[in-house]
Amino acid sequence: MASGTVAVVRVAPRASRGLWGDAWRRLLRNRPALLGFVFIGVFVGTAVFAPLLAPHDPGALYPPPPDASSGATGPYPPRPEHLMGQDLQGRDEFTRVVYGARISLLVGLGSVIFGVIIGGFVGAIAGAAGGRADNVLMRVVDVLLAIPGILLAIGIVAWLDRGLPQITIAVAVTNAPIFARLLRGGLLAIRESDYVLAARSVGVPTRRLLLRHMLPNSLTPIIVAATLALATAIIDVAGLGFLGLGPPDPRTPEWGTMLTDSTKFLRAAPYLIFFPGLAIVISAVGFNLLGDGLRESLDPRLKK
């Protein structure tokens, strides 16, 4: 810069974006999170537009390829009419993977929403009431957390019987304690905060204090945990299916059940393992990447 020139830096008044606006911008700059978005987009898009994408009926049995020797049974390898091959009964694998996304999304999302509601309710009561109620509720949570998630889910499905609603409940119950503990911890910390004292000092009533001042401030960890829980929920649902606790109707295209049905043909028909497995990985990794990205963007302290 030549001598005598004065650099004038004009700082334009920054438009107010708010906490969420800032977090959103940080998220868009996070490459892994963007990849997560792409994966989730593929997963959710497939689930929503399944009837448009899938060429066949997920439950119907289709004839073997014309060149198959008479009397041969499935599975049949991929060919133009059946992109991912046909399973033992001759059903179209591609169609089943596509429709499987619906099951996975529905059960995964349902169980997380349900888990957040139960866990959030318990956590909010424990954190707000404190004392005895807090102690009792948190010991129950400790017991549930001590049992490995999938084991607990197996137990619940075995108890409630097989079926998609039962699986949803089972996975929800395994997730709920995490949310309960998170919300309680958040509320306890926030209860001591200066702005809660300040709010009380202007006469904010207790219920309003909890709902309007404390809850919104304790939601960020819940959002992050719920996103990550979606990944585990998808895996848990598939895991239950793989262990033979999937939906009882064999026509239901559930990824885990599809895997377990195909293990016998691992060498003969690896494509029957590969495609449902890939579908599970893509959807679970997607939510994991997004969850990590959210954690970083919502908590500026984690920024490098």
Partner: protein
């Protein structure tokens, strides 16, 4: 029913006791504190950290949380005992008749709401006004506390404002309902010196405008000199000296007050080292017998093993010390004169 009686002060704190029941024992954070605040008066409450000045304020607001509890005394606001009104009434008094501002402007505003939201919430809690009116009042209040471009600032979140700005927002929130008493708990401690001066100026002008009383809690005697009409000096949960500000600065009586005043650096004085008060604040779980200050007191004498009463040593000037009003050790025996010496003598003779 609030009866306005002009002969009574706005706020009377009488023998207030707030104790904390911890696992290690009972901490008598506030132990028999009495003082009053007249209409439109500013009372400065001074003392070291942990002397109970903030706990007194929180007790007045009834914002003491477990394991703390107000175990005795009364807090009369225009003659009505705040410790005996029900919770709903107390909520209505908070923010309406008594407001409070805090030390930490950085953390005293809720991060998820805009400044305007928070001020208008305070307004709408106490007045039957619509959403838009409350918002307009918020903008008005921001203007009043000297925030430029208040309409835009009202839409901003706390993290977008500086510390000084946030303290102004806090003041706007506290004053939005025209309280009769403002409790300011170390309002300038966390701020830069220049901002401190601005905030004090602001509080002064608002005090005049609203004719409100202020309970100003601070450990900064400079702030007291600037603002206060009366001064209450607290030590280890008790009031040790109380008078109008001029007297406290000109003729401090209690050795603790004298020590506090001596420990202020003064411009233009050549001194090698700053005076300090020797020793540390006594452990609240293990207070000394007798005068709580005796272990740090340069004038400690045998009579100090008996707790000194808070007594009037001159008109309107109270001190909790055995020293005579002239600052001499009390004479004991036949040559003793004056009530103070008599009290001292009888205390000495009484079995411990």
């Amino acid at each position: 029913m609030t009866v306005h009686r002009s002969d009574r002060p706005l706020l009377e704190i009488q023998d207030l006791r707030t104790h904390f029941f911890t696992q290690d024992g009972t901490v008598k954070a506030v132990d028999g504190v009495s003082y009053e605040i007249g209409d439109g008066k500013t009372v400065g409450v001074v003392g070291e950290s942990g002397c109970g000045k903030s706990i007194t304020a929180l007790s007045v607001m009834r914002l003491i949380e477990q394991p703390g509890r107000i175990v005795g005394g009364s807090v009369l606001l225009r003659g009505r005992d705040l410790l005996r009104v029900d919770d709903a009434e107390m909520r209505d008094i908070r923010g309406n008749q008594i407001s409070m501002i805090f030390q930490e402007p950085m953390t005293s505003l809720n991060p998820v709401y805009t400044c305007g939201d928070q001020i208008s919430e305070a307004v709408s809690l106490h007045e039957a006004v619509g959403r838009r009116q409350a918002w307009e009042r918020a903008v008005e209040m921001l203007q009043l506390v000297g925030i430029p471009d208040p309409a835009r600032r009202a839409k901003q979140y706390p993290h977008e404002l500086s510390g000084g700005m946030r303290q102004r927002v806090m003041i706007a929130m506290a004053l939005s309902t025209n309280p009769e008493l403002l409790i300011a708990d170390e309002p300038t401690t966390a701020l830069d010196v220049t901002i401190q001066a601005q905030i004090l100026e602001l509080m002064k002008s608002l005090r005049e405008r609203n004719r409100m009383a202020i309970m100003l809690i601070t450990h900064d005697l400079g702030v007291i000199a600037e603002m206060a009409d009366d001064v209450v000096v607290m030590y280890a949960g008790q009031v040790v000296e109380q008078s109008d500000a001029d007297t406290v600065f000109a003729k401090p009586h209690h050795p603790y007050t004298t020590g506090l005043l001596a420990s202020i650096p003064r411009l233009g004085e050549k001194r090698q080292r700053l005076e300090v008060i020797q020793g540390v604040v006594p452990n609240p779980l293990n207070l000394p017998k007798g005068c709580l200050f005796k272990r740090r007191c340069p004038h400690a004498m045998p009579v100090c093993d008996t707790p000194p009463p808070l007594q009037e040593i001159a008109r309107g000037h109270l001190s909790r010390c055995w020293l005579t009003p002239a600052g001499e050790p009390p004479a004991v025996g036949p040559e003793a004169t004056g009530e103070l010496a008599e009290a001292a003598a009888s205390a000495l003779q009484a079995p411990a």
